[in-house]
């Protein structure tokens, strides 16, 4: 029986432009099939029918040969959680155990969610800042699916979605940023305010609501109607470039003034990650951030983005348990976490 394993997704490989600040770029297009109720209001029968229609559109097609089909109902809670932690599916889909399904491309850069809030959520996620490429990936599968399926589309409103906040392009573009310098120097609050004024949503990556942990911030477009896909992308680009510049300038200023402290912090982080025996995910995320900053400033050379991204994901509860091969409660996870971190670091740093 096929199972979800802990593998590295394409976005985790640490490549891509601006990867010292931008961890990943993601695009998600929401689509629905004409003539079928949206999943929230549809009967079991109808969602099953939609799943069948979409499966028929991709089964045996050469363009989808490198995709694996996963049914949510056949995956364990742990496997689904792992997919969420790797950003391959939404928490919403993970809960859709009746007729929710996932088509996942082998490199895990493209995931097509079926019977999420909309019939289709086509997602692409790539490392670094590459919004156009990410949209090209998602758009390609959008076109392929559209050639087989009739989408719910209205000339005035665009692609019709269950939630009015997604209507129009159905496109959500987002970028995951590592902003330790702006957060350390408390410039972040200004920035968050400014971003929300230009129609962008800012969230902490990990954490409920809008908590920022590990200096990771997600920025995404709020408006989906009235702008073209290119406009959405270029708006986001221009803002992200400014954020990157500010972060870089602040990093340089910190480096000029506090080089020894930053190096100390990074090396201490590495020491703790390698030798600590009990560790919460919050502490781990913070340490990984300290280490990443040290690496990006050239103060520590023994790690790289790929290792750091791998650590960032494997410290999560689902991934940890999957790696351990058994269910673990919170305190057991706090023991397993440093063990897995050490194992990974040892493997890479030999």
């Amino acid at each position: 029986m096929k199972q979800i394993e802990f593998s590295l997704s394409r976005w985790m490989d640490g490549s891509g432009p601006e990867s010292d600040i931008v961890i990943s770029s993601r695009m998600r297009a929401a689509r629905n099939i004409k003539g079928h109720s949206f999943p929230c209001l549809a009967s079991d029968q109808e969602t099953a029918a939609v799943l069948k229609i979409i499966s028929a559109a991709v089964d045996g097609k050469p363009d989808f040969a490198d995709f694996t089909n996963w049914t949510m109902g056949k995956l364990s809670t742990l496997e689904r959680q792992t997919l969420v932690e790797k950003h391959l599916i939404s928490p919403f889909l993970a809960r859709e155990s009746t007729h929710g399904a996932l088509l996942l491309r082998r490199d895990e850069a493209v995931s097509i969610m079926i019977n999420e809030e909309d019939h289709l959520r086509i997602q692409a996620i790539l490392p670094g800042l590459q919004l156009e490429e990410t949209w090209r990936e998602a758009g390609r599968y959008d076109d392929l699916l559209e050639s087989e399926l009739e989408y719910a589309f209205n000339e005035r409103f665009g692609y019709l979605t269950a939630c009015p906040t997604n209507i129009g392009t159905g496109l959500r573009a987002s970028v995951m940023l590592h902003l330790p310098a702006l957060i350390m120097t408390r410039q972040i609050n200004h920035l968050l305010g400014a971003l929300s004024q230009v129609g962008l949503t800012v969230r902490g990556l990990y954490g409920e609501g809008t908590e920022i942990i590990g200096n990771l911030v997600q920025v995404s477009n709020q408006v989906t109607l009235g702008q073209t896909e290119d406009e959405i992308i270029s708006n986001l680009y221009s803002v992200i470039h400014q954020v990157i510049e500010q972060e870089q300038n602040t990093r340089q200023a910190l480096l000029d003034k506090k080089r020894a402290n930053l190096a100390d912090r990074a090396w201490r982080a590495l020491g703790l990650l390698k030798y600590a025996q009990v560790m919460s995910s919050q502490e781990a995320i913070q340490l990984i951030s300290d280490l990443r900053l040290g690496y990006d400033l050239g103060l520590i050379k023994t790690v790289n983005h790929k290792i750091l991204n791998e650590l960032l994901v494997l410290i999560r509860p689902g991934c940890l348990q999957l790696l351990a091969g058994k269910e673990l409660d919170n305190s057991e996870r706090n023991l397993e976490r440093p063990a897995q971190i050490k194992k990974t670091l040892d493997r890479h740093l030999e």
């Binding site: 998600r28 003539g35 079928h36 109720s37 949206f38 929230c40 209001l41 969420v84 939404s90 928490p91 758009g139 076109d143 559209e146 050639s147 009739e150 589309f153 209205n154 000339e155 005035r156 409103f157 665009g158 692609y159 019709l160 269950a162 009015p164 906040t165 129009g168 392009t169 496109l171 959500r172 987002s174 972040i188 609050n189 968050l192 305010g193 929300s196 949503t201 800012v202 969230r203 902490g204 990556l205 954490g207 409920e208 609501g209 809008t210 908590e211 920022i212 942990i213 997600q218 709020q222 989906t224 109607l225 009235g226 702008q227 073209t228 959405i232 919050q282 502490e283 913070q286 509860p317």
Partner: protein
């Protein structure tokens, strides 16, 4: 050294910034205290507070006057969702809901997106129609400019072109048996 806000003894090496409704607050905790907090919930999809906002906005607008009572009772003929239900769940039920609630949805969409007209990608099946409709919109704008500039002859020509084009879109509708 920043002290932990919980125990005020250890160094706070975990910094959590909260941003609730535009107000930022910072939480500085030590490792032990942070560990007591629950495991973090990872999520990649932006959680829009907008969802709740417009649900409440609709909730208000459908209460009160008789006209609004009627609006609340409006029902999508296809999926059966009423406008009042839409106000509660913040989700539409099917593609026909958009025709059924069009008049009420437009102001809402304008409030969320600052626009209620799609200008992005179009499925290839719908491309022809959309091209014509977008051209009609453009011609209508030009028409207004001509009228304001008192260039009535050119305005008349434009008006005829718009009518002719609207005619082809209409025919297109009947041919395809599109309910709209």
């Amino acid at each position: 050294m920043i002290l932990c806000q919980e125990c005020r003894r250890n160094e706070a090496n975990i910094h959590i910034i909260k941003n609730v409704d535009g107000k930022q607050s910072e939480l500085n905790l030590c490792e032990q205290c942070a560990r007591k907090k629950e495991e973090l919930d990872f999520s990649f999809e932006p959680q829009f507070s907008l969802h709740k906002l417009f649900a409440s906005m609709l909730g208000q607008s459908v209460r009160g006057s008789r006209e609004e009572m009627t609006a609340a009772a409006m029902q999508c003929p296809s999926c059966g969702l009423t406008f009042a239900q839409f106000g509660q769940i913040g989700r539409l039920g099917c593609s026909e809901c958009f025709s059924a609630f069009e008049g009420r949805l437009k102001p809402l969409l304008r409030r969320i997106h600052g626009s209620c007209i799609h200008s992005g990608k179009v499925p290839s099946r719908a491309q022809n129609r959309v091209n014509i409709l977008r051209e009609i919109d453009q011609l209508k704008e030009e028409l207004q400019v001509k009228i304001q500039g008192e260039e009535f002859e050119e305005a008349a020509l434009l008006r005829d072109r718009v009518r002719a084009m609207e005619g082809t879109v209409q025919e297109d509708l009947t041919e395809k048996g599109d309910p709209q």
